[in-house]
C-alpha cells in the first residue's frame, strides 16, 4: 500500500517532467536571434555583443541566462541584460517587456531602430510590439506584427512567420 504510493510518485516524476513557461520563452528568444536579420547599423562595433534586454520586472529568473550561456549569433556573443528605463533599450538588439511596463506604446516608440520588441499578451502587438507571446492550451505560441518589425528595420525569416500562430500587419497611427 505504502509503496503503491511511492511507485506512483516515482512514475509521476519521471513521466511528467515539464518545463516552465519561461524556460520555453527563453528558448524562443534565442531562436529569434537566428531567424531575424538585424541591419548593420544596429550594432555599435563589429565585435559588440548581441544584447537581449529585459525591461521592467524580470520573469525569467535564471532561465534566460542559462539558455544564452555560451551562445553566439553571427560571431557576436549573446548577453542578457536588465534595464529599467525604456530609452536604454536603444542599446539593445532585442527587448523583452517584463510585466510591469504599463505604457507600452510610449516605450516601444522610444526603442527605435534595430530593436526587436517582444512581449506578452494579446494586446502587445496591437500596441506596436513586434512579437507577442500567448499561451494556447498550455503551449507557448507567438503572434507577429510584421509592420512593427519592418519599421524597426528588421527582416523576419519566412520560417519564423510560418511557425507563428498568426501574422499581422498593424500600422501605427501617426499621432502627434
Amino acid at each position: 500500500m505504502v509503496c503503491a504510493l511511492c511507485a506512483a510518485w516515482g512514475w509521476l516524476q519521471a513521466l511528467a517532467e515539464q518545463p516552465s513557461e519561461y524556460d520555453v520563452k527563453a528558448a524562443f528568444l534565442l531562436n529569434f536571434t537566428r531567424f531575424v536579420e538585424w541591419p548593420a547599423d544596429a550594432f555599435a562595433a563589429p565585435a559588440s555583443p548581441f544584447a537581449i534586454c529585459v525591461l521592467g520586472k524580470d520573469p525569467f529568473g535564471r532561465a534566460l541566462d542559462d539558455i544564452l550561456e555560451g551562445e553566439s549569433v553571427n560571431g557576436r556573443k549573446l548577453e542578457a541584460r536588465r534595464i529599467s528605463e525604456a530609452p536604454a533599450a536603444r542599446a539593445c538588439q532585442m527587448v523583452f517587456f517584463g510585466t510591469t511596463e504599463k505604457d507600452i506604446l510610449r516605450a516601444v516608440r522610444s526603442s527605435g531602430h534595430g530593436v526587436l520588441t517582444v512581449g506578452e499578451g494579446e494586446d502587445f502587438i496591437r500596441a506596436g510590439g513586434a512579437i507577442g507571446f500567448i499561451l494556447d492550451n498550455r503551449r507557448v505560441r507567438f503572434d507577429i506584427n510584421q509592420a512593427a518589425a519592418e519599421d524597426a528595420g528588421l527582416k523576419l525569416s519566412s520560417k519564423l512567420l510560418n511557425v507563428a500562430r498568426s501574422v499581422h500587419k498593424i500600422e501605427m497611427d501617426q499621432q502627434p
Binding site: 505504502v2 509503496c3 503503491a4 511507485a7 516515482g10 512514475w11 509521476l12 516524476q13 519521471a14 513521466l15 511528467a16 517532467e17 515539464q18 518545463p19 516552465s20 513557461e21 519561461y22 524556460d23 520555453v24 527563453a26 528558448a27 524562443f28 534565442l30 531562436n31 531567424f35 520586472k57 520573469p59 529568473g61 542559462d66 539558455i67 550561456e69 551562445e71 510585466t99 510591469t100 504599463k102 505604457d103 506604446l105 510610449r106 494579446e122 496591437r126 500596441a127 494556447d136 492550451n137 498550455r138 503551449r139 507557448v140 505560441r141 503572434d143 520560417k159 519564423l160 511557425v163 498568426s166 501574422v167 499581422h168 498593424i170 500600422e171 501605427m172 497611427d173 499621432q175 502627434p176
Partner: protein, 690 residues
C-alpha cells in the same frame, strides 16, 4: 477450507511482500524514463526547432498574481481552465471555487448565491455581469441564475470581487461583483464539440465553430442543449427536471491598432420544472402548484474600443436584453436598453483617471397568474443613470498608490445617491502587498419592495377568510453599507502564494418584513382585480428597512505547487453576523433568517494533477457549515474529474459531483419538503480541431 495461518508465518509472508514491493519501488526509481516527453533542461530546449518549441506543453500557466496582486480589492479570478477541469456544468457551480462566495443549490434549476453573506435565490446584493451586460432583474432586485448560461468552454475567466466593487459601476455591487468574461472570437477559432450524459446530467451537447481572419474580422457561433433529471425528493414528487437550449454568436473586428469592435448575442429557451406557492382571494385560497416555468430571452451587445495616444483609451458599449418568464404563479416580460461609456486618461506619470457614465432603461410587464401575487402597476418603466470617477494616484511609484473614487446614481425611485470609496495599496517588497479600503455602497429598491402585493391565506375566523398581505411600500429606502476592508498578499516562495482579506461591514436600512396592522375587515382589494372577492380580514405587512447591524469576516486562500505537475489550492472563509431589528414586529424574516442562511465557515480544497502528457485528475473537497434557517445541516462533499486526451483532438472525461453522500440538502428554498442534491456522475466526449 484453508487453515488459518500461524501468526509467525503470516509475518514472514508479510515481510516478503514488503520486500518485493520495496524492490519494485526502487526498480521504478532506477529505471530510465521511457521514451516520454523530451528532456527539458536548458541545453535540451536550446537544441529544439521552432516547431518543437511550439508543441511543448508547459506547466499550468504561471498564475497571474500580477493583476490581482496590485489590486486594492479582494478579487479572485476563476480561469477558463479551472472551470473546465472542475467538471462544473453551470456558472453557479463554477463559482464554488472562489473564497467568500456561498453557493447553495436549492433544486434542479435554482441556486442561492451570496458573497460574504446574504445569499438568496436572487442574490440581491451582488452585481452580476456577463461581458459587461448586467444580468439582474429590477423586478426582484436579483439575478435569475438559471438563465445565465453560455458555452463554458468559451469562458475566459470569472472575476469575483468580494465587497463593494471598484471601477465596476452600477447599483447593487454592495456585497460583491461577479464578472463573467468570454474569450474573444480570435481565441476560439476552429471547431469544438462535446456531448455526454450521466445519472442527473442526463444529456448535454455543445458545439461551436469559429473562423475569420485574425488580422481583421473573426467570429464564432455556438449552440448548446441539455436535459437534466430531478434532484432527490423524499416524497417522490420529482418536479424539478430541467431542459433548455441556447445559441449565440460573437464577432470581433480589429479595424486598426486604434479601433476594435465587438458584436455578440445569445438566444435561449428553457423549461424549468418548479413548485411554487399559490394563494388567492377565491377558493381554494392556498396551495402549491407544480409546473414548468417557460423561460426564454435573448440579448445583443455592441462594444467599441479606441486606443488614444499616451496610453489613454475609451470604450463605448450598448446592449439590449429581453427576458420572458412564465411561471405557474407569475409572468414577466422585460426589455432592457443600456448604453455605457468609459474612458481612461493618464494625467501625468503618477496619476490616471478612470471615468464613465451610463444610462439604462428597463421596461417590464407583469402578468398576473394568481390574485395572491400582484405587482401594481403591472407595467413599469424604470431608468437608471450612473456615473463614476476614479483617480489612481501613484504616491510613491511601485510602492504606494491611492485610489479615490465615487459612483453616482439616480433612478426613478431613489433620488441621487453617491457611493464614495477610498483605497490604499502598499507594496513594500516585490513579493508582498497590503491594501485597505473604505466604501459607502447602496442597494436600490426593486419593484418587489415598492409595488408588490403578496398575500397568504391564514385561515377562517368566524366564517370569514383571513389573509396576511405584504403591501407595497412606496417609501422603501435603499439599503446602505459602510464597508471597511483590508488585505494582504504574499508570494512566499516561487511555488507558494497566499491571499488574505478581512472586512467589517456596517449595514443600515436592510430589508425587513414587518407587520404593520392588526386584523381589519377589507371589502375591496387595493389593486385592480377583475372579480372582487367577498369581504375578508386582512393583517397588513410591509417590506421595510428595519434591519441593521454588522457583518465581519475574513478569507484566506493559499495556492501551492508541491511539484511541477501538481497544484493545490484552497480557501477558508469565515463570516460573523450581528444583525438587529429596529423596534417593530418582525414577521418571519428577521435577523435570524439572514444569519441562519449565511454560512459561518466554508472550506474548499482543490487538487489538480497532470499525471502524464495525456491524463489530468482534479479533486475538490468542499465544506459548508450549517444553515439552520433553511434547514441545511453542515455538509462535506467532494467532486472529481479525470480526463484522458487520446490525441490532439479528442478528450474523454468522467466527472462526479457531490460524491460523499447519495444526497444532501444545501438550501431548503422550495415549498414543501426540502429538496436534496444528488450524487451525480457523467461522462463527456470532447472533440477540438485546434
Amino acid at each position: 477450507m484453508p487453515l488459518p495461518r500461524a501468526p509467525h508465518r503470516r509475518n514472514v509472508l508479510l515481510r516478503r511482500h514488503v520486500l518485493a514491493w520495496v524492490l519494485a519501488c526502487t526498480g521504478i526509481f532506477a529505471r530510465e524514463p521511457q521514451a516520454g516527453p523530451p528532456q527539458t533542461t536548458p541545453s535540451a530546449l536550446k537544441r529544439m526547432s521552432l516547431e518543437q518549441l511550439s508543441e511543448i506543453q508547459v506547466t499550468s500557466p504561471s498564475k497571474e498574481p500580477v493583476p490581482a496582486f496590485s489590486s486594492p480589492v479582494a478579487i479572485y479570478v476563476i480561469t477558463g481552465e479551472d472551470i473546465r477541469r472542475s467538471g462544473a456544468t453551470s456558472i453557479p457551480d463554477a463559482l464554488r471555487l472562489a473564497p467568500g462566495v456561498e453557493v447553495a443549490r436549492i433544486d434542479g434549476s435554482k441556486w442561492s448565491v451570496g458573497i460574504r453573506g446574504f445569499g438568496t435565490r436572487l442574490s440581491r446584493s451582488v452585481l452580476v455581469l456577463i461581458d459587461g451586460r448586467t444580468v439582474y432583474t429590477p423586478l426582484f432586485a436579483g439575478t435569475y441564475w438559471e438563465v445565465q448560461d453560455t458555452l463554458l468552454e468559451d469562458i475566459d475567466r470569472i472575476e469575483v470581487i468580494r465587497g463593494p466593487g471598484g471601477a465596476i459601476w452600477g447599483p447593487n455591487a454592495v456585497n460583491g461583483v461577479i464578472n463573467i468574461i468570454t474569450r474573444s472570437s480570435r481565441d476560439t477559432q476552429g471547431g469544438y464539440a462535446s456531448a455526454g450524459g450521466g445519472n442527473v446530467e442526463q444529456g448535454f451537447a455543445n458545439v461551436r465553430y469559429g473562423g475569420g481572419n485574425p488580422d481583421g474580422l473573426t467570429w464564432r457561433v455556438y449552440a448548446k442543449g441539455f436535459t437534466r433529471g430531478p434532484e432527490f425528493h423524499s416524497d417522490r414528487d420529482n418536479f424539478d427536471d430541467w431542459r433548455g437550449a441556447q445559441g449565440g454568436f460573437r464577432m470581433d473586428w480589429t479595424k486598426s491598432a486604434r479601433d476594435s469592435f465587438t458584436l455578440q448575442g445569445d438566444l435561449y429557451e428553457q423549461e424549468d420544472g418548479e413548485r411554487v406557492n399559490v394563494s388567492s382571494y377565491v377558493p381554494a385560497f392556498t396551495g402549491t402548484a407544480d409546473g414548468d416555468a417557460d423561460l426564454s430571452g435573448g440579448n445583443i451587445l455592441f462594444k467599441w474600443k479606441r486606443t488614444l495616444s499616451g496610453g489613454n483609451d475609451f470604450q463605448l458599449q450598448a446592449y439590449y436584453d429581453r427576458t420572458n418568464r412564465y411561471e405557474p404563479n407569475l409572468g414577466e416580460r422585460r426589455n432592457t436598453f443600456d448604453i455605457d461609456f468609459l474612458e481612461r486618461t493618464r494625467l501625468s506619470a503618477n496619476q490616471q483617471l478612470l471615468w464613465g457614465f451610463g444610462a439604462r432603461s428597463s421596461d417590464g410587464h407583469f402578468l398576473e397568474a394568481i390574485s395572491g401575487l400582484v405587482f401594481y402597476p403591472a407595467h413599469r418603466d424604470d431608468y437608471l443613470l450612473s456615473g463614476f470617477l476614479e483617480d489612481d494616484i501613484s504616491v510613491v511609484p511601485n510602492k504606494l498608490s491611492l485610489n479615490l473614487g465615487g459612483k453616482f446614481l439616480r433612478t426613478n425611485y431613489t433620488g441621487f445617491a453617491a457611493q464614495p470609496s477610498a483605497r490604499l495599496l502598499l507594496t513594500p517588497t516585490e513579493n508582498q502587498s497590503i491594501w485597505v479600503s473604505f466604501t459607502h455602497a447602496v442597494r436600490t429598491p426593486s419593484d418587489a419592495e415598492e409595488d408588490f402585493y403578496l398575500s397568504s391565506y391564514l385561515g377562517t375566523a368566524n366564517g370569514i377568510e383571513e389573509f396576511a398581505r405584504f403591501n407595497a411600500n412606496k417609501h422603501f429606502a435603499p439599503e446602505l453599507l459602510n464597508g471597511y476592508e483590508a488585505g494582504y498578499r504574499r508570494l512566499v516562495t516561487k511555488s507558494l502564494y497566499l491571499d488574505f482579506a478581512a472586512f467589517y461591514n456596517h449595514h443600515h436600512d436592510l430589508f425587513s418584513q414587518d407587520l404593520t396592522g392588526g386584523p381589519s375587515l377589507e371589502t375591496t382589494l387595493p389593486f385592480p382585480e377583475a372579480n372582487q372577492p367577498p369581504p375578508h380580514v386582512i393583517l397588513t405587512a410591509q417590506f421595510q428597512n428595519d434591519l441593521y447591524g454588522v457583518t465581519t469576516g475574513a478569507e484566506i486562500a493559499p495556492e501551492w505547487r508541491p511539484a511541477s505537475f501538481w497544484r493545490l489550492r484552497g480557501s477558508y472563509s469565515f463570516l460573523h453576523m450581528d444583525l438587529k431589528q429596529a423596534p417593530s414586529i418582525a414577521l418571519g424574516a428577521g435577523p435570524g433568517m439572514v444569519d441562519g442562511s449565511s454560512p459561518s465557515h466554508e472550506v474548499v480544497i482543490d487538487s489538480s494533477w497532470d499525471l502524464a502528457k495525456h491524463l489530468q485528475l482534479d479533486l475538490t473537497y468542499r465544506y459548508v457549515s450549517a444553515l439552520p434557517a433553511v434547514l441545511a445541516p453542515a455538509y462535506s462533499t467532494g467532486d472529481a474529474r479525470v480526463s484522458w486526451r487520446f490525441n490532439s483532438s479528442i478528450e474523454f472525461a468522467v466527472a462526479g459531483q457531490n460524491l460523499f453522500q447519495p444526497y444532501h440538502v444545501e438550501y431548503a428554498g422550495d415549498p414543501g419538503l426540502p429538496v436534496a442534491i444528488r450524487r451525480s456522475v457523467f461522462a463527456t466526449l470532447i472533440w477540438r480541431t485546434k
